[in-house]
Symmetry: C2
Subunit: 252 residues, 2 copies
């Protein structure tokens, strides 16, 4: 069933008609060719999500009626922010698409020392808009009830300041893999409590610089390995999110 | 350090000079412009892997000398075969590349009922060759000591026959997610013993047909969910491999 994220909160969505306009109207009527009587998933800005029936189609809006709330929670029990040292090409798009499917709450591009890719100031808002669109589509496709937030690109200092509002801050560090420090990651995951906020930092293709690792470590970030194999910059966040889901959602 | 998979077994690799010819010679000398005295990782067909020093460069071969074996194991403690219902476009390439990084031993394309993509018989060997090349490059990049095997495309009947040589056979099934059967997957992983062989089946974009699920289930495959979110056909195997690595390599 198609899923749409509504932009406005509706306190009386269970009783009042729900009007859908603009792009979503266009998608429902022109792209999906939906008819009266069909059902869709609608998601309110801060949840919940519910099944609604199309009651009427007008020239510029669709009128829906609430049927019942979706019961099963689709969101990870913790909020996970993925910090990606700016990677080359369109790898950040892959990270956002797959990371959204896997439950991330936030993506933070990070101008790392070894990032070959740079975000020119005048292109930042376009890049963020494009990533927001990818996150929205992936959230719809994977039946999520939250769309991850895309942050602007941060410097190391800004990242460290931002990290203070998270409960657990981890750095995926290749050298830790060589020292068999995988258990740090498992130890951190097992301590997580529902509702906590986790920040995970990944380097770009060339990895993090020693200075970056030292500064993050001094700021309280825990260095950890994600198994003995060397994962590419776009694969490591997907490993981490999958492991978090496995540990918190499946491994009761 | 660059990593090369040797094609021949060498029982006396620790004492005798090792000659590298052909494509790997070309890569070392022409692409990487390696010189005498530099070191490389060399991997024998069934392991072990070791560090070797370049002792001489001739017109058609490089002569290397063993320095020491690589100590840390890079391979998952179980063998994991990923069965992919033939997906659209180049998604199988992404599955093979990322799945190799994440430790898979084997990739088995599967002609599923809802596979829109078909492999024409005359193109099969070319497609396998291309996937083998992707697996080799990803194995080198992720520092593995085994290159995953790419199988030819199998029918449902062939898949069921093949499954008899595996210890544990699982099917990722979206309907199981709706019924919260995530714990089946965790239960199966926790029972795994080192050296066991696991077969994991994933449907194409349209999922598996009811008939396929019934037949696999009758053949002893266990249906399981990979968390509450709906994962794309190329994301689900990466989730499963990450969870296996987390459970067996990190979560001691």
């Amino acid at each position: 069933m198609q899923r749409y994220f509504l932009e406005e909160s509706l306190s009386d969505y269970q009783t009042q008609p729900i009007e859908i306009e603009g792009e979503q109207y266009h998608h429902m009527v022109r792209v999906m060719r939906m008819k009266e009587g069909e059902t869709v998933f609608l998601v309110l800005p801060k949840g919940p999500s519910f099944i609604a029936e199309i009651k009427g189609i007008e020239s510029d809006k669709v009128i829906c009626k609430w049927l019942y709330d979706e019961e099963q929670t689709k969101e990870l029990p913790v909020e996970v922010a993925i910090v990606s040292g700016l990677p080359k090409g369109d790898k950040l798009e892959l990270i956002v698409q797959k990371g959204t499917e896997l439950g991330a709450s936030e993506f933070i591009p990070f101008a790392a020392t070894y990032s070959i890719s740079k975000w020119e100031p005048k292109k930042v808002s376009k890049k963020i808009q494009r990533l927001e669109k990818i996150a929205l589509e992936a959230a719809e496709q994977s039946h999520r009830t939250q769309v991850p937030v895309i942050s602007t690109v941060l410097s190391l200092t800004e990242l460290i300041v931002k990290s203070r509002s998270y409960d657990v801050c981890l750095v995926a560090y290749e050298e830790s893999a060589k020292q068999n420090e995988g258990s740090q990651f498992a130890t951190a995951l097992k301590k997580l409590k529902p509702g906590e906020k986790v920040l995970l930092v990944f380097g770009p293709e060339g990895g993090l610089s020693e200075k970056e690792v030292t500064k993050l470590s001094e700021a309280g970030f825990v260095l950890c390995a994600l198994g003995p194999r060397i994962l590419r910059t776009e694969t490591a966040p997907l490993y981490a999110l999958s492991a978090i889901s496995y540990q918190l959602e499946l491994n009761h």
